[in-house]
Symmetry: C2
């Protein structure tokens, strides 16, 4: 009997699911509103209902398991949330308990950035390059970070590994909600582009000022269009963000010597404007990168590039998860 | 027949070996001058001779293998050096080839900081606390960094993982020989204490100035004595170093969520003066540390402390190595 798995992506806005088969990729996608207003128990029940419905719809296939990708901080393997900023009211909630009571198939819970990295490794750039270890940074409203070693997620002692978004790239820099200063998250996410645009507009920057007049909540993509058209102030914002990303990746390379680092998320669409300063920082700040970069005499080169999978990486990774981890139950 | 292994510590000054048995610890220690002046081939032959002699001396025991701990950058598993700063003239030299030709027992080569971390995990604080994953920073003339996951060394793609000494703690800070700026190595090693003492003396600091007059090449331990006696300028130097170490450890915790981080090396003798600012930085810069520190509701707490093993950690780790890795050959 052909096998399938179910992936669930628990987001602060939408709850999505999909069925996955190794040959056929994602199928039977479903999406509902995440009822945060009704509390974690109600959302957890929605998750279970969604899984049961997705499973019933595949009556001719054998379900090997389900995985829920969720925003952190999420304590693993226990499955308990700790003041997750994107799931207000979920502090201390144990999702694992609810799944345990309601499901009769193997289930897994993991951090959304971890499952996205798992997908990128097994089905994206990792697969393409024949590399089974990577670091993935997803730059969007926040920073997601997942670490894959030998094809499996590095969880750390409590499931909290992978918070490069809160590595201080400028230790005296912008204060972050996490308590740190100068976190990568303060320099390479959607909100930081808006912050920098506003600052530069206040200090001159006629192009940005005109843009903010037309569109007061200017998105990174509007700023990108302005920069692509040659506006020096807008370009400088992307150059600074690239520098921050480069400082962070240099630290990751100097710490873990990964064969592959991929950058994903909406902000990575600005790669042509981010990457020059990003690679400048890598060149100067990581002797490991310099020694091992493509073309070097090292057996395994260090590759830094955009991710192959798009915004579905998290859903794909959750769906793939039972196939990667199931054999080891 | 009782089993033993042989560990070799290849240093820029001395070449040391010891025999190890699981019950008896280190025995038959030997040490000779590292003939750097005669080139890598001569030193490699000394290593082989040392191993053969150590093996012959244990004629009633079975040798399961030997491991050489060496300074990096060392490409693994191939065993080739890449411009190692402490082994001038060794660029491109492949130690593995020489051992292969001269030894008839299983041999291993690894980075000296890695083997020290392996020892600390299996026989030091890791063993004491029942933890099989850790990060170890050895602060001396440089910074050694080793990462152990599930009892084994994290090597990364090329054997170069574990260079937290070149993580930028102050990205606009002191230029480092590695090409980066503001590396941990520029703030928490022997040379940096001397640099800071000189700077502060030039700007006033009567206590430090008097010390430098008495002892122009003031060591960290002399500065420590001055600080312990209450000299505010000397204390500030240790406080700054503790801050740099704390920033680096916060990044390691935010990246890998290790259960245990240990600080070793001569500089760690100043722990009482380093640790207050070190922990201040951890508290403010790592929400993972705050959430999981000793006393928290997390199942696994994050522990940061001094290493248990002393300066022999590298030799012990090299000797232990064949027992950890041998079964997997």
């Amino acid at each position: 009997m052909k096998q399938f798995s179910i992936g669930v992506d628990l987001g602060g806005t939408n709850l999505r699911s999909a069925v996955y088969t190794p040959g056929g990729g994602l199928q039977d996608r479903r999406s509902i509103h995440t009822r945060l207003e009704d509390g974690p128990q109600a959302v957890a029940e929605d998750i279970c209902r969604m899984i049961v419905e997705a499973k019933l719809a595949q009556s001719d296939l054998a379900c090997i398991g389900v995985c829920v990708g969720a925003p952190g901080p999420l304590e693993l393997p226990i499955g308990r949330f700790h003041t997750p900023p994107n799931l207000p009211g979920w502090d201390g909630f144990n999702l694992s308990d609810v799944l345990q009571r309601n499901l009769d198939i193997p289930f897994y819970i993991d951090n959304d950035a971890n499952v996205a990295a798992l997908a990128e490794c097994h089905l994206g750039s990792g697969k393409q390059l024949g590399i089974d270890s990577l670091n993935m940074l997803t730059l969007g409203t926040g920073v997601g970070h997942g670490i894959i070693l030998d094809g499996r997620i590095l969880h750390g002692a409590n499931g909290l590994a992978g918070e490069a978004g809160h590595v201080a790239v400028w230790p005296d820099g912008e204060p972050c909600n996490c308590g740190n200063r100068g976190c990568l998250e303060m320099y390479a996410t959607a909100k930081t582009f808006y912050r920098e645009a506003t600052r530069r507009a206040a200090a001159g920057a006629p192009g940005i000022r005109a843009m903010l007049k037309r569109s007061p909540e200017a998105s990174p993509s509007e700023l990108y269009a302005l920069a692509s058209a040659g506006d020096a102030d807008a370009r400088a914002i992307f150059a600074d963000a690239g520098r921050a990303i480069g400082i962070c990746i240099a630290s990751l390379i100097n710490t873990m010597n990964p064969a592959l680092v991929v950058v994903a998320g909406g902000i990575s669409d600005a790669w042509p404007l981010l990457s020059p300063t990003l690679f400048e920082e890598l060149e100067s700040r990581s002797y490991i990168y310099r020694l091992t970069k493509p073309g070097s005499r090292f057996k395994q080169n260090t590759i830094v590039q955009r991710a192959e999978l798009g915004p579905d990486a998290g859903l794909i990774g959750a769906a793939l998860y039972p196939f990667v981890y199931g054999e080891h139950q």
